[in-house]
Assembly symmetry: C2
Homo-oligomer: 248 residues x 2
DNA sequence: CGGGAAATTGATGACTTTCAAGGTGTGTGG
DNA sequence: CCACACACCTTGAAAGTCATCAATTTCCCG
């Protein structure tokens, strides 16, 4: 049930042959544009589980696309408070956080052995100048990151803990579905720690919600494997408590 | 104490003459680049208090820069839950949320009468192709938006309500300071409703925290005017409770 | 196979929301 | 220009949600 799109030990393949080409950067590019892109990028980045793609305050090295595996990004402040920002799956890009000042503002850690492509920072602007399709696609990717953050903000700011988890599961579900996998049965690559932090709650709270949803026959969870047994109930949970505030 | 950078009723001025040129888009551009930019943008956008610059699902019209006034952006879901995402002050840009699919994902509402510049969507990509400085500066602006969202996520996900307010006040304070205004005395252009929503808490909670901080002689608040009387205490408040989690 | 990390479960208490009421300021219309 | 209505803000009491502490179980890695 896992995403076996590419294998950590396989040889490097071309964008053409990559099963992610329709959701990754080459998506909207012409054949010649893909060709130029390919000659400039590094398709051999391997990051082992728990290792970092980049770390906070590190100088920007490039923009990355996930080929296989999974990456979590997180930000920390000087007090040691930490917030997981996003889980990056195959086809997702990361590294835009360094656009602000040339250094990364977050850590990017592999949740499992992970393959990445990189657009080195040296060639980045030149490619943008020459390839209109790449500009368009990069805007799209940046927009996706912004949209993701906005939804997470809404979730953290306005929703109850159970709503947050329900929405997260639905999001992951539709993500897998859009990539041709089951929307009812999938693997979460992150620990309870990471997930609870991402959802802005204590680990114990997350565990309790999972137990309750299991008791209510909404989901079945075995370690990191999730089976959604009642999609409708899950959807209604995502909209339940609804402390909507009537603003002016 | 308000930001009288430009006046709602004044005539349109050139980027050169604009007091924001050093923090706005023209910042890193050459003289000739600014010239080309100027011929392409619309510097006459006036939005009255409570009116919208754009609304959710509306097709992207362009990218905006705030000249005077203030804009709040907010996102809502189908349940009526709403989250204020950001307050945009003079020099700030908005509209990147439409990069994802060409339509805006949030509402942008004027908190007071506001002047904006607009880069129309039709000329946007052409300018990016021709002006390296503009590409650089836009990346910078996008990065700022991402960084802002990340900090807000950390705040909503990990901090107590009083820490959130303290951090917000410090942020606004340094913002004003960097623009040459007092960092101890300023006006908040948003209502308590908007601010409490932005900070992910009930209006009553915000009101209580303000009262407590006032009793503790940390701030003085008169309606929307804020005076920071004890910057050190405020800073320590921003780091107090500190339910930092020791992650692996 | 053993040590330790990860996950679950229970009890308790703190923080924050909700509900309710009262006060204050602002804007509009007469 | 003043008055009134309404929106905004504040404060109090009670209830609820969620975090923390603690103990136990399960699972993973060496």
């Amino acid at each position: 049930m896992h995403l076996p799109i590419t294998n950590f030990n396989q040889n490097t393949i071309s964008c053409d042959a990559c099963s992610l080409s329709n959701i990754c950067l080459p998506h909207g590019l012409s054949a010649s544009e893909v060709e130029e892109l390919e000659t400039s990028i590094d398709k051999t980045i391997k990051i082992k589980k728990k290792d970092a793609v980049f770390r906070s305050n590190q100088k920007m090295n490039g923009i990355y696309a996930v080929k296989s595996g999974a990456i979590k990004t997180s930000i920390a402040n000087e007090d040691g408070q930490e917030q997981v920002l996003e889980f990056h799956f195959p086809g997702d890009m990361l590294g835009f956080d360094a656009f602000s000042n040339g250094s990364h503002s977050c850590d990017a850690i592999a949740l499992e052995d992970t393959l990445l492509c990189k657009i080195p920072v040296e060639v980045f602007d030149g490619l943008c100048e020459r390839l209109p399709g790449l500009r368009r696609e990069l805007r799209h990717q940046v927009g996706k990151e912004i949209a993701h953050n906005q939804h997470l903000l809404l979730s953290l700011g306005q929703q109850q803990t159970d709503e947050r988890l329900a929405n997260f599961l639905l999001l992951v579900s539709s993500h897998y579905q859009s990539r041709g996998f089951s929307n009812k049965e999938f693997v979460l690559p992150m620990s309870r720690q990471d997930l609870s932090n991402y959802l802005g709650m204590a680990v114990e709270t997350l565990s309790r919600i999972i137990s309750r949803m299991t008791d209510d026959n909404i989901i079945k969870v075995e370690r990191r494997v999730v089976i959604i047994s009642d999609m409708d109930k899950l959807k209604s949970l995502a909209h339940s408590s609804c402390r909507a505030k009537s603003s002016a």
